[in-house]
């Protein structure tokens, strides 16, 4: 590497000029998210102040945004000194943060439309196993960014003991070969198979929040107004209710499908010898790279819709810093069966999972029915007795249904293993399998409730640096066996867990 070109990073540097746009947008959105109820009041409750008032408000807000953004742009510096990456920033309170280069896990770049227009990228620096938040440089010249990345990785390599060097470093160039790419049709299928109920939940939550906020502002009974609007109070028109449900479901579908479209557009999975790389996104094209040896848990999950369309969702959980930003989790939706197998084979070498014969204790069924069936049903029934009268007894119908569900869930659990891995399979509607190498655990915990203690049962928790796994209602002798084995595997191996 040419020394002269990297020398620039030793001096405090500002971000690229167009970073100002991002800072502006960020400040604006932060301000709006704080002030929007106030703005609503202004917009709706004082029509007689005339346009001058609005102009004034707009001018004040935008000048505040502009000034603080410009100042924060000029007060942001980053540089490398004493083998540390430093960032200085802040308008009113200056902050100076630094991270040792050898602690840096990865330097990731990302670009959106604005970035691409200016030929810049945003750079984020992730660290492992620390409480530091990650460093973000919102805009930087594209070539400079790759230079910075190389420079950091090179310095980092020179700082690390030679033993690890042989293993290969993330900075090294690696040859990637494509595994598969999602076509538009596959993307559509992935969107269809999403859990639309989650989107319904989001819609309901957002609607309830907006209504309650609006209620405070307008001080009128918005709910009553909404009821009269749909003619609810007068005639319970089942057709309207049906249509409403249909509309909500359609909106939910559109929301979840468009979020899939935005996030996973042209998802491309590439495998290297030691790394895996994902490229995806519509407006923001994102690139994620993961070291295969840092992957702690591989999950794959399917549901009847996905099963019918013959694909699964694979999730790779990397060793992550404590900020659970999801940055270290790789989602691969729409992964066909054979690619899933290929992924599993390349993440975990010589994997050959066989049924373990371990069974959970069936008392799990009625305990779950008690806590998820009977008790909620009783509470719901008692709480709604005033509303429904004796019809509230219908809530008890939930109990046998819940028993049936829990019985099915119990049956779906199975544990498989081989010499180096454990696989945990479970789920009724969403069937998921989690695979992890024994030696990647950080610690093991065995928990027992009073009831479980009497029956010599308990839940076994396996903690890794990238998520946890739990096996419920395990017989104590099986739990001991597993613990002995896992501890032996973790303690006898020379392999690094990351």
């Amino acid at each position: 590497m040419k020394k002269s070109r990297t020398e620039i990073f030793r001096e405090p540097r500002r971000q690229a000029k167009n970073a100002l746009i991002f800072i502006l947008l960020k400040t604006l959105s932060r301000l709006l998210s704080q002030l929007w109820p106030f703005l609503l009041i202004v917009l709706f409750s004082n029509p007689d102040y005339g346009s001058l008032f609005y102009i004034l408000i707009t001018v004040i807000i935008s000048s505040v945004v502009l000034i603080t953004s410009v100042i924060s742009y000029f007060r942001f510096y980053f540089y490398i000194a004493e083998n540390k990456l430093h960032i200085e920033q802040g308008v009113f309170r200056r902050s100076h943060s630094s991270v040792a280069l050898e602690r840096i896990q990865n330097v990731q770049t990302e670009d959106n439309l604005i970035h691409r227009f200016f030929k810049t990228v945003s750079v984020s620096v992730t660290t492992a196993g620390s409480k530091d938040s990650e460093f973000v440089i919102s805009s930087m010249d594209r070539e400079e960014a790759s230079l910075l990345r190389e420079y950091i990785m090179e310095l980092k390599r020179s700082l690390q003991p030679t033993a690890q060097q042989a293993e290969g470093q993330e900075g090294e160039k690696e040859a990637f070969s494509p595994l598969f790419q999602l076509t538009l049709g596959q993307l559509l299928k992935v969107g269809l198979s999403q859990n639309h109920f989650r989107a319904i939940g989001i819609i309901m939550g957002a609607a309830a929040y907006l209504l309650s906020q609006a209620q405070e502002i307008f001080r009128e009974d918005i709910f009553e107004w909404a009821y009269t609007l749909v003619g609810w109070t007068n005639q319970a028109d089942y057709l309207i209710i049906f249509l409403l449900v249909l509309i909500v479901f359609l909106i939910a579908m559109i929301i979840s499908m468009s979020s899939v479209f935005l996030n996973y557009f042209q998802l491309r999975v590439e495998m290297g010898f030691r790394q895996i790389r994902l490229k995806q996104g519509f407006i923001r094209r994102k690139e994620q790279t993961a070291q295969l040896r840092k992957i702690q848990i591989l999950d794959w999950s399917t549901n009847p819709v996905r099963k019918a369309m013959n694909f699964v969702t694979v999730v790779l959980q990397q060793a992550s810093s404590s900020s659970e930003g999801g940055q270290n989790t790789l989602y691969i939706p729409g992964c066909a069966e054979r690619y899933k197998e290929a992924l599993i084979q390349s993440v975990f070498e010589d994997i050959d999972l066989q049924p373990s014969g371990l069974r959970l204790h069936p008392s799990m069924i009625w305990r779950y029915t008690l806590f998820r069936g009977l008790i909620p049903a009783l509470i719901a029934g008692l709480a709604s007795y005033n509303l429904f009268g004796w019809y509230a007894l219908f809530f008890l119908l939930w109990v046998p249904l819940s028993y049936w569900i829990n019985w099915k869930v119990y049956q779906s659990w199975s544990i498989s293993w081989d010499r180096n891995h454990i696989g945990i399979n479970r789920g009724l509607w969403t069937y998921s399998v989690s695979i992890m190498p024994w030696f990647k655990i950080q610690s093991i915990e065995f928990k027992q409730s009073r009831f479980q203690h009497r029956r010599n049962l308990g839940n076994l928790w396996l903690y890794t640096a990238g998520g946890n796994l739990m096996i419920p209602y395990l017989r104590i002798e099986d739990a001991y066996k597993l613990q002995n084995l896992i501890l032996y595997k973790a303690e006898s191996t020379k392999k690094s867990w990351m």
Binding site: S322, E445, L487, E491
Partner: protein, 173 residues
Amino acid sequence: MDFNNELIDWDSLPQVQEVSFKPLATNYRLLSMISAGFSSLFWALVILLSIIFIQLWEFFYLLLAIVIWVSLTAFLLLRAWKLYEYKGYALREHDILYKSGWIWKRWVAVPYNRIQHVEIRRGPLEEMLDLRKLQIFTAGGASSDLNISGLAPDQAEQLRLFISVKTGLDEEE
């Protein structure tokens, strides 16, 4: 690489169930009783405030509140007293084991080669009773970290030293 998939001989593995645990410092019982006292005061405040806010100034409700508070306090104190018997730690050659819990039992094993660092902490109460708290951090996040409170100062220091030597050794191998 030659691959052989021999049957695991479960009984030849080191057995965690045969470990005998060392108890915490006897002062720990006092510590947990005092903190149970504090949480009982907290609940008294909660109950009092809810009576004031819901305006339940009737004899029946006041009696009910007192009964609830007394039984809660009794439970908390009993639990604090009992906890001491159920807590303990054990050091093995390659891992540290810790058990706790009277009603909800739990026990944890952390291999030395997974420990990131060890810290000794003390709060004001612990300062008063001359106790220390050992915090063991792993890369698995808060849920997999191990905290052992109620250790005597020299006990804690001994543990910290032992663990740091062990983690250092494991790294050098």
